[in-house]
């Protein structure tokens, strides 16, 4: 099983994802996805089971609870693997649509988040691989084309540049995926192996190599 829902990072009285729902203007304020607290894993699981059950019965409100709880993680995980905002949105959205299509058959005894995140990460890897296979250098572009055609942004693009994101971008999609699963979604190596369909030893070696590469490029506190 994978997913952040199983491993609250910070203990405390309440557990919920803080969403800046008021910040709907164009300034990209990162969603705060750090989890503030859960009384217990079991309580969290029970609450999610209730939402799934209610959503299966037709409650849009319950679906929205599930969506707002899991979207930030799914979207963030997809983006950190593909490094393409539009693709990340599509991948996360399609994962939710898959979830809705399978909602009636969903086994409520299993956690929702890990299942969703497994879809997201695998789709993100597929997308990145396919894109790199298909890519050609386009000599027809003018030398200044990248800067000259930068879309007009409502906000400064500097806000999107981040050292760790840039360092991740230089890893292979498979290495990015294990880092995202391990350190964003808090999966164990065994859970990652299951999610990606690779041996546990492969996960460990990928993690080690990825961390070595990241450590060489950014300062990461052990």
């Amino acid at each position: 099983m994978i997913g952040p829902g199983l491993r609250p990072v910070v203990a405390g009285p309440r557990e919920e994802i803080q969403l800046d729902v008021e910040s709907t203007d164009s300034v990209a304020v990162p969603l705060r996805v750090s989890r503030a607290a859960s009384p217990s894993k079991a309580l969290e699981r029970r609450r999610e089971r209730r939402w799934v059950k209610a959503a299966q019965a037709g409650s849009e409100q319950a679906l929205e609870h599930l969506y707002r709880r899991h979207w930030p993680w799914a979207h963030r995980a997809a983006y950190l693997v593909v490094h393409d905002a539009a693709a990340a949105e599509d991948i996360a959205q399609e994962a939710f649509l898959s979830a809705i299509r399978s909602l009636d058959r969903f086994d409520r005894s299993r956690p929702f988040g890990p299942w969703l995140n497994r879809i997201v990460v695998n789709r993100a890897i597929d997308w990145t691989r396919a894109r790199s296979l298909r890519r050609e250098t386009a000599g027809e572009f003018d030398a200044d084309v990248a800067s000259a055609t930068e879309p007009v942004r409502e906000t400064g693009s500097a806000i999107y540049s981040d050292e760790v994101v840039e360092a991740l971008r230089r890893l292979s999609p498979e290495h990015r995926a294990v880092v995202v699963l391990r350190y964003l979604l808090d999966c164990t190596p065994g859970e990652i192996a299951k999610a990606l369909g690779v041996p546990r030893g492969t996960v460990n070696s990928r993690l080690r190599r990825a961390l070595d590469r990241l450590g060489a490029e950014i300062e990461v506190e052990e």
């Binding site: 990072v9 905002a85 997308w127 990248a146 990241l214």
Partner: protein
Amino acid sequence: MGDLRRRLRNAPIPEEHEARERSWRVVRAAYAERGPSTTGASAPRRLAVALVAAAIVLAVVLTPAGAKVVDFVDDAVSPGARHAEPALTHLPGGGSVLVESTNGPWVVNSDGAKRLLGDYDAAAWSAGGRFVAVTAGRELMAVEPTATDAIHWSIPSARPVTNPSWSTSGVRVAYLSGDSLRVVAGDGTEDGLLARHVASVTPEWRPQRKPLPPDFQVSGVPRANLLAYVTSSGRVVVEDTDSGKVLLRSGDTAQRKGLAWSSDGKLLLSFTAHDLLTYDFASRARFPVAAGMPLSTQLQTVAFQPGSHRVAAITTTARSSGPRSSLLLGRPDTEKFLAQRPLSDPGRFSDLAWSPRGDWLLVGWSTADQWLFFNPTTGRVTPVGDIAGQFDAGATSGVPFPRLAGWCCTALGTNSP
């Protein structure tokens, strides 16, 4: 590794809020349209239903009466037999659709009300939907969509005018005058030649996220008005119409049928009858798309979904029993391009248009004289029949099927012309 964990969780993600809310609208719509839950059905009840269904199938297959039923059903699903609404009473995706008919362009409003704009030929929305660029012989005009023959401005041309295209900034209109590409300001002034010897393909302006405020609607704004067009030799060119700087000139030549930009302006797609090529302006890469289509299959048209890099395409396959058309969906920058084929029917799909929010596709099915409103999230199809007749009162058979010229308006154009 707490530091890495923290940094991954706090790394800025572009358009995080907007993506969440956009996707929630899609997810909620998909949920609202899904069928009733089956989880409550008990096992004995499901078994009973299955037995009854099996009995019905056996009766249909094994009895003469059943064979007649099969024949009837076969007839019923023949070309043109999607059960269609007899008239257009509303647009599922809202907004307004621009339609070109033999009588001239029409505007169809969200409540299904239609207005003939006048005796014009080609038509194109302005970014905000306040005007429509129309052509009439050797004249280009801007007319108001809320009235008939409400001409805002017009300019004459030495040669026949075709393929108008209004920039998403609202401040430029491109059009073809014979085989020359010309650009005029959005108020009908500053008409000038941009390129000679261009192909008869509608030039496409690179979308902008926001319209320019009126104070900036002058030619001095850099990189505001990038136009993609096809030369007569089949090269794709992207040019800054204000500075004249050419940003892309494709090395290959091809018989290109059309161009399309993604709404974020990152991807430009050009297509021929048999292949597509995507230019990625963010990474300066290009992605040839091998759709695996046989020679008997031709691409008719392609369009990006607003707010996404998904593409819808129409193909038509020639077969001995007659042509068959399909609607395909996919992403042009991946291997799985056009992997989905949600619609496939006998005859010809003529064209398509995305709703402004990208939640509905309108597909013209000329053979069946129908419009198919297709929701790609839920798979729901709402057919509307007698389309030719609705845009040509008193039409007799043989009237050309109306052409879709755009579904307005995108959010970015709400304050622009």
